[in-house]
């Protein structure tokens, strides 16, 4: 156990406010009742049903953002492409579209890296991602093995492109 003698202060002093010194969300007895309620199978089942019930709605939202994504790509607006890919990435996983989310995540990463480096994004890389997102989302992702292959190939492509010198990219 640590003792006062081996304490070495290497940073600024800090005040610690223990949990009982500020108002907690629930008092102890209430917290226990609430947690017991949350841990029941019925609650888990109910929340899973809610998630399932929202999946169609979320998938529709993904498809709606996908339409915008394709339009923004057509118009060459990469900032808007990023915004739409970001929305898709946030919704797709919870909508049960795992690969759609992963490919959108890859596209966001690529565009973020290009923004950070000040480089010009490669349109072909973006087009490949958008095409893959569209195929995955519109098919409802009925392709486990192919999905893995496509996402890993696209990740490798982004790694290669980001690894290349800026001059070669432009």
């Amino acid at each position: 156990m640590a003792t006062q003698s081996n304490m070495r202060k290497s940073g600024p002093a800090a005040d610690i406010i223990p949990p009982h010194a500020y108002p907690p969300p629930l008092r102890k007895a209430q917290a226990r009742a609430f947690v017991e309620n949350l841990m029941s199978d019925a609650v888990l089942e109910r929340t899973e049903k809610v998630l399932d019930a929202h999946k169609d709605n979320l998938r529709s939202a993904v498809l709606s953002h996908l339409g915008c994504l394709e339009e923004d790509l057509e118009g060459g607006d990469f900032r808007a492409v990023y915004e739409q890919a970001h929305e898709i990435r946030g919704l797709a996983g919870t909508a049960g579209l795992k690969y759609t989310g992963r490919i959108a995540f890859g596209l966001c990463n690529y565009l973020e890296a290009m923004t950070r480096s000040g480089g010009t994004p490669d349109v072909a890389v973006i087009e490949l991602h958008v095409d893959a997102i569209a195929r995955a989302a519109r098919s409802g992702e009925d392709f486990q093995a192919l999905g893995e292959e496509v996402t890993s190939q696209l990740s490798a492509l982004v790694r290669r492109r980001l690894g290349e010198p800026a001059k070669a990219r432009s």
């Binding site: 156990m1 640590a2 003792t3 006062q4 081996n6 304490m7 070495r8 202060k9 290497s10 940073g11 600024p12 002093a13 800090a14 005040d15 610690i16 406010i17 223990p18 949990p19 500020y22 108002p23 907690p24 969300p25 629930l26 007895a29 209430q30 917290a31 226990r32 009742a33 609430f34 947690v35 309620n37 949350l38 841990m39 609650v43 888990l44 109910r46 929340t47 899973e48 049903k49 809610v50 998630l51 019930a53 929202h54 709605n57 979320l58 939202a61 970001h86 929305e87 990435r89 946030g90 919704l91 797709a92 996983g93 919870t94 795992k98 989310g101 995540f105 990463n109 973020e112």
Partner: protein, 171 residues
């Protein structure tokens, strides 16, 4: 039958995507909460925090004009914050280390990664209700203790004056 003891528990959902906001609200209602409030960005969220006084907050990370990180800073450090101790669960798809660290350093209590699952949401809420964290106030930080894991073999350096007694108290 009398109402459950937690019937009055209030939650605030701060999320710019309407679909995700509706989903989070529905999930919280399914957990048995009766009072779930919504805001579409951090600024509105802060106003709702003031007027509704929620017991915990579920917030998205990326929003405009005020994102989840800035919202958390306003709650923790703002002079006009109505409750700097309110637990904030940050819902995020960002796995980028820098963003997550910035959110943690702003004072986020828990992270809920997308895709959202019922079990992960339950676990985060149980965590904030059952094990409220100590708060730390120092020169450049105010928020929940950021140390989540205690290494029994850790020999220092000890950065806080009360690290020794605190060593036994932190849950």
């Amino acid at each position: 039958m009398s109402a459950p003891a937690f019937d009055h528990l209030k939650a605030l959902v701060v999320e710019d995507n309407a679909h995700m906001r509706t989903l989070l609200r529905s999930l919280l209602l399914a957990l048995g909460l009766k009072n779930v409030y919504e805001a579409a960005d951090g600024l509105t969220g802060f106003e709702e925090l003031r007027s509704r006084k929620p017991d915990f907050v579920l917030s998205d990370l990326s929003m405009k004009p005020v994102d989840g990180i800035e919202f958390t800073r306003m709650v923790r450090m703002g002079n006009d914050s109505p409750n700097p101790y309110v637990p904030i669960i940050m819902v995020t798809g960002h796995t980028e280390r820098q963003r997550v660290e910035a959110a943690r350093d702003a004072g986020v209590t828990e992270f809920l990664a997308k895709p959202i699952t019922a079990q992960n949401l339950l676990l985060r809420i149980i965590e904030i209700v059952e094990r409220p964290r100590p708060f730390v106030r120092c020169e450049n930080y105010f928020g929940p203790d950021r140390r989540r894991h205690r290494d029994e073999d850790y020999a220092g350096p000890w950065r806080r004056q009360d690290d020794v007694k605190d060593d036994l108290d932190i849950c």
